[in-house]
Amino acid sequence: MSQFPPPASLQTGAQLHLFSCLACGRVSQLARPAPADTPLHCPRCDAPLHHRRPGSLQRTWAFLLAAMILYVPANLLPIMSTNSVFGNATHTILGGIEELRAAGDWSLALIVFIASIVVPLLKIAVLLLLTITAQRRSRWKSVERAQLYRMVEAVGHWSMLDVFVVVLLVGTLRFGAFGGVQPQAGLLAFGAVVVLTMLAAGSFDPRLIWPEEPTPRAEPSITETHG
């Protein structure tokens, strides 16, 4: 982006009373300053306009805490049980990965390990970091935190993998007395963790990573930014 001046001249929507509609992308500008609590709606699509989404951190905390609580049963309870001529068995998430690895499917064991263990843990840890730093209006490593936020958004739904695997095994592995698969309560807890972390990430407003400076620059001018 060589046509842009260095970031020193950067201005924000809040400083210039500019709003980008999160639903349709239209950029609007307030003709004259209005009180901060004036409800504004996008003229094109009627979605509410905010510089920062209200209640973002409270909502993120609520979903995140619920996800952390359910993470325990999701990993301790069995997600499925199998019955076959060799006997009955229950399987946890870690147990399923171990079975794949023991069967020699290293690559699939790795994919399931990443999708079911690494991604949920990482998501919870990153969201904790993001909400705590945003709450303290921290300016620490903002670019890196923005990167972490995008990563959580991108990988979030991949943890649903294990839920789909069990549902498909329940549907296909049906040989009556010879063998079958039943879903167990751990699967519900695990699915709930995935949904709750996705809701937490969706509630988090990434603009909170970039707190506004307490005093706006004197005489900001848009014309300077594209000279």
Partner: protein, 229 residues
């Protein structure tokens, strides 16, 4: 001027379309505001294949990727076809010494419901079937009007629902899940991937290219058509 920053470089103010807003909001099509850090940028034309990133937080601002409405419509029709195939054809066929067991995705969901996990069944049905299907149907509804130069009734609601439906559609994860399921059942019986699996693989590719085009260009076309009525 008491507020010099508000009027600098402003184009001739255009009356906002909606009267619900209490304060006047002027359109600034010459600017881009980053959705992820609120930084303001001058809008530039992007060449095909180029992407614009925020110079403060590096978020994706836009792509120089314009797909004609006709192509978007063709993609949506193809996606609908693949969803129908993917839900009626078996995903996996298992053979345990001559005993054949095969299941489609809706059947698997029904067995999950019957096995005492209705919520898991609902979650799977929503993310693997209902949301991708609704996403495709809403796009068809909007695009079929747009190609004829019309704005369909409920355009705003339909377009806004696309964001939600896209966020909760998990076609690509489901496809990976079927691969894992095939391998895991291969240890017990001989497993053959079915047509349904390939349909979902194709659907993954189609939805990825549909999403790369984004919705902002459709919003723009819709509002331009609407203002000339």
């Amino acid at each position: 001027m008491t507020e010099p920053e508000l009027h600098v470089n402003a184009p001739a103010p255009r009356a906002p379309a909606a009267s619900r807003t209490q304060a006047a909001l002027i359109a600034r099509p010459d600017l881009v505001v980053c959705n992820e850090c609120d930084a303001v940028h001058q809008r530039i034309e992007l060449k095909p294949g180029n992407v614009a990133r925020c110079r403060r937080c590096n978020a994706l601002l836009g792509r120089g990727h314009v797909m004609p409405v006709q192509s978007l419509l063709a993609f949506a029709f193809a996606a609908l076809l693949l969803i129908l195939i993917g839900n009626t054809a078996p995903i996996v066929t298992l053979d345990l010494r001559g005993v054949i067991s095969r299941a489609t995705l809706p059947e698997s969901i029904r067995y999950t419901w019957d096995s005492g996990q209705p919520l898991v069944a609902l979650l799977t049905a929503a993310t693997a079937i209902v949301f991708p299907l609704c996403f495709t149907l809403v796009r068809l509804y909007v695009l079929l009007s747009i190609v004829r130069g019309l704005v369909p009734p409920g355009f705003n609601t339909a377009m806004r629902s696309l964001n939600f439906l896209n966020r909760w559609s998990m076609v690509e994860v489901f496809m990976m899940g079927t691969l894992v399921a095939v391998v895991r059942s291969a240890g017990l019986a001989s497993a053959t991937p079915g047509i349904g699996l390939f349909a979902y693989a194709g659907l993954t590719l189609l939805l990825t290219s549909i999403l790369a085009a984004g919705t902002h260009s459709l919003w723009k076309i819709g509002s331009e058509l609407g203002s000339t009525r």
